[in-house]
Symmetry: C3
Subunit: 272 residues, 3 copies
């Protein structure tokens, strides 16, 4: 049994999100800022890309959730991330971690361990990133993972158990676990990995869903289901990655709670 049924099901969360658009503070990379903001606006949330340490902590006090992405990491970004995390925790709000290319350099490996220790509610990454965080060998090259989601299933479960975070591994099929509950989510489009920073934008959408429920597992499943359903719908009629992009934003906006109820979510819990 998994937590995505009943009141925590994606369609109910989307209804809540659209009824009162949550303010999501996104500290994300320069590549992702524009598309992440457009994804949140299309989905129904209110993004704010406030990252400077001079105000990031104060702003987190009025945000419904904070998302942190290390894609274009720097000392200045890191100061803002730490301030925002403290602000979110002081306000009792969740924060979401996107460990972009965390295996690529020593700097990233050190920073990401420090961030994981600060109790994110959700960690969303590709298989290579999650395997690296779980302490296993990965085949990541740069920012594109080369491992399959299935190969990261065990690592994701152990990472969830050790970190206390819900772990979402995204790829052709997605896997979400809180260490006990687990689901596979199907859908999307092969044009999605050909559009830069859609994974980063999905992390921000996890923040939007986390702002409307106390269950981080439900939040991750909701955001991923929203992406999966919109991606599959946008794929129809798209000739390539370029024509996919506007269709995808349209689909994120046009997906109804009823359509989201049709998301393909399969139980992947391991019997105790």
């Amino acid at each position: 049994m998994s937590g995505w049924e009943g009141s925590g099901a994606p369609e109910h969360l989307l209804r809540a999100l659209r009824a009162e658009p949550p303010l999501v503070q996104c500290i994300t990379n320069y590549v992702a800022m524009n598309i992440a903001a457009n994804v949140l606006l299309a989905a129904g949330a209110s993004p704010a890309m406030v990252s400077d340490a001079a105000e990031a902590g104060e702003f987190a006090g009025i945000a419904g959730a904070v998302t942190i992405n290390i894609g274009t990491l720097s000392a200045a970004f890191l100061d803002g991330m730490n301030a925002a995390i403290l602000g979110a925790q002081a306000a009792g709000r969740p924060w979401v971690l996107d460990p972009v290319a965390c295996q690529a350099t020593r700097y990233r490996r050190e920073v990401v361990q420090m961030l994981v220790a600060q109790r994110p509610a959700i960690i969303r990454g590709n298989a290579s990133e999650i395997l690296s965080l779980a302490g296993e060998a990965s085949h990541g090259q740069g920012v594109d993972g080369r491992d399959t989601v299935a190969a990261a299933e065990d690592g994701a479960r152990r990472l969830a158990q050790s970190s206390g975070a819900v772990v979402a591994v995204t790829g052709a099929v997605d896997y979400v676990t809180d260490g006990q509950r687990a689901v596979w989510i199907e859908g999307g489009s092969p044009f999605m990995p050909m559009n830069t920073a859609l994974g980063c934008a999905l992390t921000c959408l996890c923040g939007a869903y986390a702002a409307v429920t106390d269950d981080a597992f439900d939040a991750a499943v909701g955001a991923l289901a929203h992406f999966a359903v919109a991606g599959a719908r946008a794929h129809e009629g798209a000739a390539g990655p370029g024509s996919f992009a506007p269709r995808f934003l349209d689909a994120l906006a046009l997906v109804t709670p009823e359509a989201l109820a049709g998301a393909v979510i399969r139980d992947a819990s391991v019997p105790a």
Copy 2:
């Protein structure tokens, strides 16, 4: 009677802009940089996103106008803003202020007051931002205003009188005033607030229009009319915010001076 008739009317300014594309130095936020540059290019101007203090002042000396946006504020951006403002003033060129989310944090409130004191030619914001600048209570949450343009009309007029700037309040219907003259501008599309940073891009377009006329009121009206006409045209056939975006850039480019003459601009001056 308002100043948007005769030689200062939008169609004449657009003709001047296309005859000799003005160089507009845009110090804007990371979310807006790409779409703002594309908006200026489509409209017919020449954007340059030069913001570092090491060159921002010198560059302002060759630009037709400077635009300043505090969306992703930082100490480094602020240094560049100050250098560019000084450079523009030394060259006798106008500068335009976009007070993004100026009510959200103490840092923004302090910085924006300092900027307003440096005599921008135009201030363009949403109703919540303008109400905050006018010293009134606003309902802004993050970067999305929750106040209506109509509610900001009095505040805008007083802000224009106190600051010496033309004030443009944008929303479903726009309001522009220099403290005496005032107009309402209708048009646009409900998909515009679902596309991030279009307001920021409009601020940059105000700079382009300010570079081709000495009357900042005419400039603001021209830029807003260009957006309103292009937005309404782009709305036709758009299925959502994603498919709206490329249509909008097309429309900005395809709008002729003759079409701009058909913009819906209503006198809103208060009888003395």
Copy 3:
């Protein structure tokens, strides 16, 4: 005779690029980051926008090529550029220079001379930028060049000879030379200069091609041919710069090696 025939012809390089997508480290400006990443993904390469000095040098050791763009120059970017160049040279990998608006300010003029001295494999710019680098008077205003590619032909050849770099001058028709070999490349679309940062994205694509051949002349010709063919194809059916953009990304992805063999490339070598 030029080097773009035989094993170094564009179609063979594209085949190699798609068979094993090269990791390209792009230190580019804030305006270009998103579109450059999308261009590389569509073309078949793997972009990584890693620019901070804390990791840029280490990352260059795993990248197939590095690209450097001074569009939004700052001291922090410059530190990262120098680290990445050293890393690329230590790893024996090529790096590509984009001297955006290098004639506009003293800061840019100084920085770009220092960069040119560090032996880029390819320099790609517009005619005004290349004329400025060649020590000739240019008519560049801001980031948009006002000189024609033809006017920069002699300057490009001399710059190639003095710097040791292949020089690619792009415009309505492109010119590529290594100081001896030279070609003209035709194609593209008048909507391309109305889309911001496509030149910057092309510089990144030069890096992708440079990662799959040891001949920098072939690499530059391959990347420019890919752009020219995709641009011409995308122009069909585009109503303006906005609708051109998604078509262009589609076309970059859909161009086959066979189609690339049909690129219009004319020998422009000067008889010895």
